[in-house]
Symmetry: C2
Subunit: 215 residues, 2 copies
């Protein structure tokens, strides 16, 4: 009996997280009210304070329990690749681009993921500190480590860092600034276009990586 209650409470908690995430992603923290979230989640107004203590903490939990979980899914393909004995720089770049643009997430999740993080990247905040330490920094280190292992010659780590940032900027932008991309190219985000984007970013970055071959 008390188990049923617990289960019910857990479900409400999950629905609150889902709806909060969707609304925060679409319109940002301040534009969304608790009344909106609770009624979307079919819960009573006090539910947020009951389950999460405060609006701010609900926001933090959205990142801790939804965003970071998805970040792990995005990183998984690259971790798999790292376990292999051999891989090429091209495989690293393509795996990275693919993971963000057509990877394991649903399209909705992908957009939400980008929207949430791009709202936080502008200045240091609680969420920013959490994410950058636990997710972004390790991921960047992994990418750099992998290239250093498979690039034909020793490459300046400073340069590799800038290249990783450039790649990140592109995957973020192509996910998040879809209105601009659609307006410029006249293309919708169907499978064909996303594949083209992955290929574009891959080739673009790969040339950047190999660029100093001749020097």
């Amino acid at each position: 009996m008390s188990q049923d209650h617990t289960r019910q409470a857990d479900l409400t908690r999950e629905r609150l997280l889902d709806e909060a995430e969707r609304l925060f992603a679409e319109r940002g923290y301040d534009a969304v009210s608790l009344r909106e979230i609770t009624s979307a989640a079919d819960a009573h107004l006090a539910a947020v304070n009951y389950h999460f203590g405060s609006k701010e903490n609900l926001y933090l939990e959205v990142f801790r329990q939804r965003w970071m979980e998805r970040a792990r899914k995005i990183q998984a393909p690259l971790q798999e690749l790292e376990k292999r004995e051999h891989y090429t720089p091209e495989e690293v770049v393509r795996t990275l681009a693919k993971a963000f643009l057509s990877g394991p997430l649903s399209d909705e999740d992908r957009v939400r993921h980008s929207q949430l993080i791009s709202r936080e990247m502008g200045q240091q905040s609680k969420v920013f500190n959490l994410i950058s330490q636990e997710t972004m920094a390790p991921f960047m280190e992994m990418a750099i480590r992998m290239w250093q292992r498979c690039l034909p010659q020793e490459t300046d780590p400073e340069r590799l860092k800038l290249i990783v940032l450039s790649i990140f900027s592109q995957v973020l932008y192509f996910n998040f600034a879809r209105p601009v991309v659609t307006l410029t190219t006249g293309r919708e985000y169907d499978q064909e276009f996303v594949d083209q984007l992955v290929e574009h970013i891959t080739q673009f970055a790969l040339r950047g990586l190999n660029g100093d071959k001749g020097k």
Copy 2:
């Protein structure tokens, strides 16, 4: 006498625009109250409604009278270049990167410019429609036109569009996601680092542009 009043009113109007822009850029539309804006601008609470009619319209005017003006300044170097009889793809890319990252604006203005637009690029809004029609689309067309004129061979306009978007994503990101960049590279945004960024983006994009030479 009435001229003095007019001048005084104009000054208040300008101060309101300045402070509103700063605050909107830092924290977004919904997080900023009219009380905050008017007291920062040393005006009375009713001043916003008197001068601009509503908070929303003040926001729109920030874009119309501040953001777009700066966008013109950023575009100027590229327009100058276009008037010349000859220029190289490298000059186009470097001028573009420089205009955004170390161009005619002050550093503060540059950050504000990126923060304001990145808050609007996620979804279609009044501001987005204004900006994309009046500023972004013409600028993109100019860049593509210039490359098509100076690149050694005819290049697929579809590909050029993606390249412009990739360059935009990087200049936006390196201006706007400074916390991430600083955390990753350990570098502050001093003159030396900004010059390095311009060079990085230039080389990166140039290789992307020339990439299909051999094909």
